[in-house]
């Protein structure tokens, strides 16, 4: 599950999941929810595979969200459904979504960047949680 929290000039994303794969998938959906107000209208019509290297989990989460943002920014491809495998040296993801259709998708925030500010990824008694602040 994800939720958006307040940060004076920008927005924060808080995510919880029982495992790391779920955490990354929820973070991806949370990011998409900042950019499009009616996420339920985004269909899993296109498939994109991503492989990202990274030894440190928090940086890997940062790189993952940055990659999704880059794809949206340059191709207008909104990815909302994720099948992830996280291993020691990075991640592999099968992502699904569709190209933005301004007639059906309500654009919301322009996310400029994912930030390192209070970037947090840690285990909890029930799984994992993460916090990330995005620059609006």
């Amino acid at each position: 599950m994800y939720e958006i929290f307040e940060h004076t000039a920008d927005l924060g994303l808080r995510v919880e999941a029982p495992n790391l794969e779920g955490l990354f998938a929820e973070a991806g959906r949370g990011l998409a929810s900042m950019m499009v107000a009616n996420l339920d209208q985004v269909q899993p019509l296109q498939v994109r595979e991503l492989t990202l290297p990274g030894l440190e989990r928090d940086y890997l989460l940062f790189d993952w969200l940055t990659e999704l943002l880059y794809i949206f920014d340059t191709e207008r491809l909104l990815l909302v459904d994720f099948d992830l495998q996280i291993h020691e040296s990075g991640l592999h993801a099968v992502c699904r979504g569709e190209t933005l259709d301004p007639a059906r998708h309500w654009l919301d925030h322009e996310v400029k960047a994912i930030t390192y500010h209070h970037l947090k990824l840690e285990p909890t008694s029930t799984g994992w949680q993460a916090e990330v602040i995005v620059d609006i």
Partner: protein, 488 residues
């Protein structure tokens, strides 16, 4: 530490408009922190961790004089917004992308005209429709200008001077742009392919968030001589444009922060916050960022130039006259997220330092060599956007800025409400109609954007400007009132 925590460290009074965080506050601070504010603003400033960030910046190697913050200070990433820091390469000084921000060369420009409120008022709806149609705005919106990689490199090397060949810039525009819209030492080859891809259709687009284009009128004149030099008179119609380097600049910052992972440790630099990531100015990594940052800054000046060009065309269409006959000349363009290599005197010694301004504006005084001829006697114009309901300001730099703040003043009002709080506070209200009742016609791509940017979401810019005026950093020249707003 909770990220909502208030600052409970020291803030010692230097005078009515300046407060000190002594370097004894935390081991590792190389200089004091100094915050320009009055007592009322200081109460707000204490509410979050922005003063702690001022103290953190004081850890940076080579920092001179003090870690400074302007009265519109608020919490940012690593550096606070409203922060100023100057580093000397000869003393192991560093360059830090966090001291510039994601939106490299975000800035503001002001365009005057020879028309007055009563001339434009009957045509204002039509004018706003034309501006809304001509000026691409909103989330990731691509523009009408597409520049392939080769042309992007020209824009990043030459700045708006390159746009003269498309009749989209004049010599007068270039002369009235900070640094002539062209930072020397820009190296487009340091800009990644990802950044180029993000930038190729975004030059000449407004973006969203707090970026805007406003039609304004001069509501009050405080300094007749300076206003006359800028061609401003009471009730005159002007255009103010606030935007930056768009996706290209965000990507340059992103690339640099990634590149700098582990780099401070490599050079033995201890940082209290990893968002202060930096590299020695003379290092390979430092030089790479300086080259790419300069290229993104020049791109941003091209962006504001093309936005102004499209505004001129929209005025032509709405009012049926060429822009030249409406004398829509650029008063000035200032950057408020940038790092520049400048000459300053600190500790009795003249030095060349890298001045990081993050949410802070250059404010050179009269007779400074970099101030354009037209403004030599009055000082460099400074443009301070406020909020879309109340006011914005035009100032000129004063000698006190050279003595106290590396030739720098504030950049805006600063937020008073978070975005989510602003949206909550707008439930059941019609912001557009409220603005209309205040005499402002708004055109926006997103109602939420309008709610987030409502006037009440910002601090009163009057209070911020009063501090820099009283502290002799910059002098008030004119107050501008919005009559039309284009938002993303």
């Amino acid at each position: 530490m909770s990220i909502k925590a208030a600052y409970d460290g020291p803030l010692e009074k230097v005078n009515d408009y300046c407060w000190r965080i002594p370097k004894s506050y935390r081991e590792g601070m190389r200089v004091d922190g100094l915050i320009f504010a009055d007592e009322a603003l200081l109460e707000h400033i204490r509410e979050d961790q922005a003063p702690e960030q001022v103290a953190n910046v004081a850890f940076l190697p080579g920092i001179q004089h003090a870690s400074l913050a302007m009265p519109d200070i608020h919490w940012g990433y690593g550096f606070c917004i409203g922060g100023v820091c100057a580093t000397d390469p000869e003393e192991g000084g560093v360059i830090s992308p966090g001291g510039v921000g994601y939106d490299i060369n975000c800035g503001v420009r002001l365009v005057r005209s020879n028309m007055f409120y009563q001339d434009v008022k009957p045509h204002l709806e039509r004018l706003m429709d034309q501006l809304f149609a001509h000026v691409p705005a909103g989330v990731g919106k691509g523009g009408r200008f597409h520049f392939k990689a080769k042309e992007l490199k020209h824009l990043m090397t030459e700045g708006p001077a390159y746009l003269k060949k498309y009749d989209a810039a004049t010599d007068g525009d270039i002369a009235h742009t900070e640094a002539h819209g062209c930072l020397q030492g820009a190296e487009p080859d340091r800009v990644s392919q990802r950044a180029l891809t993000r930038g190729e259709d975004q030059c000449g687009t407004l973006g969203s968030g707090n970026h805007f284009m406003e039609v304004q009128i001069v509501e009050a004149v405080y300094d007749d001589v300076a206003a006359r030099a800028m061609g401003l008179e009471k009730d005159m119609v002007c255009v103010m444009i606030h935007s930056g380097s768009r996706g290209l600049g965000y990507q340059v910052c992103d690339d640099a922060l990634k590149r700098l992972r582990g780099v401070p440790e490599k050079y033995g630099i201890h940082l209290p916050d990893r968002q202060l990531a930096c590299a020695p100015i003379d290092s390979k990594e430092g030089q790479e960022y300086i080259g790419a940052m300069g290229a993104a800054a020049n791109f941003a000046w091209c962006n504001r130039q093309l936005l102004m060009h499209q505004a001129r065309l929209a005025f032509e269409k709405a009012l049926g006259k060429p822009w030249q006959s409406m004398q829509m000349n650029l008063v000035y363009d200032v950057a408020h997220n940038i790092a520049k290599f400048e000459t300053h005197t600190t500790g009795g010694k003249e030095r060349k330092v890298w001045v990081h301004r993050k949410g802070a504006t250059r404010a050179f005084p009269p007779n400074h060599p970099e101030t354009p001829d037209l403004y030599k006697r009055i000082g460099q114009p400074v443009i301070i956007p406020g909020d879309m309901g109340r006011a914005s300001f035009v100032l000129v730099g004063q000698q006190g800025s050279m003595e106290q703040s590396f030739g720098t003043t504030c950049h805006g009002a600063g937020r008073a409400m978070s975005r989510t709080a602003a949206v909550k506070a707008s439930q059941g209200r019609k912001i557009e109609e409220e603005l209309r009742a205040r005499g402002v016609i708004a055109r926006a791509h997103s109602w939420r954007g309008l709610a987030e940017e409502q006037p009440e979401a910002y601090k009163d810019v009057n209070l911020v400007v009063e501090v820099v005026h009283q502290a002799n950093l910059a002098k008030k020249v004119a107050r501008m009132k919005p009559i039309g707003v284009v938002k993303g």
